[in-house]
C-alpha cells in the first residue's frame, strides 16, 4: 500500500477530541494528503470547522503524532480556510456514529437562504431524537457544550440531547 493510502487509513483512527465518536475523516475536515515527488514531508490539508474551535490545534497535533507513530513521517499540516467547512461534509458513516453516540446529526444546509431573524430557524425540520427517533423535539438553546452543537429536548421520551448544528 502506498504512503498516501496508508496515511488516509491512519487518519481514520484520529478522533475529534470534542466529539470522540468521529474521526477527522468522518468529520470531513481532511481535504487532501499530498506526497512530494521526492518522498519528503507529507502534507496533510485540514479545514477548520469553526473560527474559534479550540480543538483545531489538538487535532493538528493528533494527526502528526498518528502519522509519525505509523512510520509515515515526516509530515506537516496545512490549514486551508476556503472553501469553508460545512456540516454537509460529515460522511454518512459519521452521521450514523453521531446518532449512536447520542448526538442528532445535522440536516442539510441552505447557505444562501434568507436569514430568519427570530426564534428557531424554521427552514429546517427539527432533528429526530437520537434515542427514541421521535421528531417531536424542541430547541432549548442554539449553543451547546462545544461550538458545533445546540441543545435540544425530546418531547416524546423527555430526554435532553445535543444536535450537531448545520452550518
Amino acid at each position: 500500500m502506498g504512503r498516501i493510502r496508508k496515511a488516509w487509513a491512519v487518519l481514520d483512527t484520529v478522533l475529534d477530541p470534542e466529539v470522540p465518536a468521529l474521526s477527522v475523516r468522518d468529520l470531513g475536515i481532511v481535504r487532501d494528503v499530498i506526497e512530494p515527488a521526492d518522498g519528503g514531508e507529507l502534507e496533510i490539508v485540514l479545514t477548520p470547522t469553526y473560527s474559534g474551535c479550540p480543538a483545531t490545534e489538538v487535532i493538528e497535533q493528533g494527526v502528526l503524532e498518528a502519522i509519525a507513530l505509523a512510520g509515515l513521517g515526516p509530515a506537516r499540516v496545512r490549514l486551508q480556510r476556503a472553501p469553508a467547512w460545512t456540516s454537509d461534509w460529515i460522511s454518512e458513516e459519521g452521521r450514523r456514529k453521531l446518532r449512536d453516540y447520542g448526538i442528532a446529526p445535522p440536516g442539510g444546509t441552505a447557505p444562501d437562504a434568507a436569514v430568519p431573524l427570530r426564534f428557531v430557524d424554521r427552514r429546517e425540520a427539527p432533528p429526530a431524537c437520537p434515542r427514541c427517533s421521535s421528531s417531536d423535539t424542541e430547541r432549548l438553546s442554539a449553543f451547546g457544550s462545544t461550538a458545533c452543537k445546540a441543545l435540544y429536548r425530546c418531547r416524546a421520551c423527555r430526554e435532553p440531547f445535543e444536535h450537531f448544528k448545520p452550518i
Binding site: 474559534g52 480556510r81 476556503a82 472553501p83 436569514v115 431573524l117 426564534f119 449553543f143 457544550s145
Partner: protein, 257 residues
C-alpha cells in the same frame, strides 16, 4: 515591562484591523458573562459567541500582521499595542451592562458583521475572502440569537421592555460610527479589498427595522454625536479593557501556556 509596538498606518492594514479589533474587543466583553449570565444556556451561548469572535480576530490579526510586513503575529497585535492603535468600533468596548444591553449590542454588531462578511466574500484578497466565508456562518447564528432575545425582552414584561428601550437608546448613540466612511474605506473600496461601510447601512437598517417591529420597539432617532474608536480615539472604557487583556503579556513578556 514589555514595550508597545506601533502598526503601520497603511489603509489596507487599518481596514483589516478595524474588523479584527471589533471582533477581539466584543469577544473580550462577551467573555465577561462567563459564570454570570442569567441562566446556564445563556452563559454557554455568550462563551460560544466570544469564542467565535476571538477565533475570527485571530485570523484577521494574523492576516493584518502579514499585510503590514512588520512581522507582528496575532498575539503581539492583540496584546502589545497602545490604546490609540486599536481600531474597533466604540460600541464594542462599552461595559457589558445588563443582559438587555448585551443582546441589543450583539444584534447591532452581528448584523453589521454579517453584511460586512457577505461583501468580503468577494474581496480580491483571497485570505480575507476565506475568513469571511467561514465567519458569515457564525455571524448568522449570533444575529439570530440576539434578535430572538430582543423580541422576547421587548415584547415581554414591563421591566424587560423598560431595560431594552434603555439599552437601545444607549447603544444607538454609537451606531453612526459604523457607517461613517473615511479615507480608509475609500482606499479599501478602490483596491477591491472590501466595501465602504456606508454601503452596508441600508441592509443593516432593514434587519434592525424587522427586529424592532417584531419586538414592538421604536427605533431611536440618530444622534449628532460621533464616536471615533475605529480611528483610534476611544471612550474612557477602552483603557480598562486593555488593562485586563494585556496585563499578563506586559508583565511577563512572551509568556506562553
Amino acid at each position: 515591562m514589555q514595550p508597545s509596538i506601533r502598526v503601520d498606518p497603511d489603509p489596507a492594514v487599518q481596514y483589516v484591523l478595524r474588523i479584527g479589533d471589533t471582533c477581539l474587543i466584543l469577544g473580550q466583553r462577551l467573555g465577561e458573562w462567563c459564570g454570570h449570565a442569567p441562566v446556564l444556556e445563556e452563559d454557554i451561548a455568550m462563551a460560544n459567541m466570544a469564542l467565535d469572535l476571538v477565533g475570527q480576530a485571530r485570523a484577521l490579526l494574523t492576516h493584518a500582521g502579514q499585510m503590514s510586513g512588520q512581522g507582528y503575529d496575532e498575539d503581539q497585535l492583540a496584546f502589545l499595542r497602545d490604546e490609540r492603535d486599536y481600531r474597533n468600533l466604540t460600541l464594542v468596548e462599552l461595559p457589558r451592562g445588563d443582559f438587555a444591553f448585551t443582546v441589543v449590542r450583539n444584534a447591532m454588531v452581528a448584523g453589521f458583521l454579517r453584511h460586512l462578511w457577505a461583501a468580503l466574500q468577494s474581496s480580491n484578497d483571497a485570505e480575507l475572502a476565506a475568513i469571511a466565508g467561514k465567519a458569515i456562518k457564525e455571524a448568522r447564528y449570533h444575529q439570530q440569537h440576539a434578535a430572538d432575545w430582543i423580541v422576547r425582552l421587548g415584547d415581554g414584561t414591563d421591566e424587560s421592555r423598560r431595560r431594552t428601550e434603555a439599552a437601545l437608546a444607549a447603544a444607538w448613540l454609537y451606531m453612526p460610527e459604523f457607517f461613517d466612511s473615511d479615507a480608509v474605506d475609500d482606499a479599501a473600496a478602490d483596491m477591491g479589498l472590501g466595501p465602504r461601510w456606508a454601503d452596508l447601512r441600508a441592509a443593516w437598517l432593514a434587519d434592525m427595522t424587522a427586529i424592532l417591529d417584531e419586538a414592538g420597539l421604536a427605533m431611536p432617532a440618530e444622534a449628532a454625536f460621533r464616536s471615533t474608536g475605529k480611528r483610534g480615539v476611544h471612550s474612557e472604557h477602552m483603557g480598562y479593557v486593555l488593562t485586563e487583556m494585556q496585563y499578563l503579556q506586559r508583565a511577563y513578556p512572551g509568556g506562553v501556556w
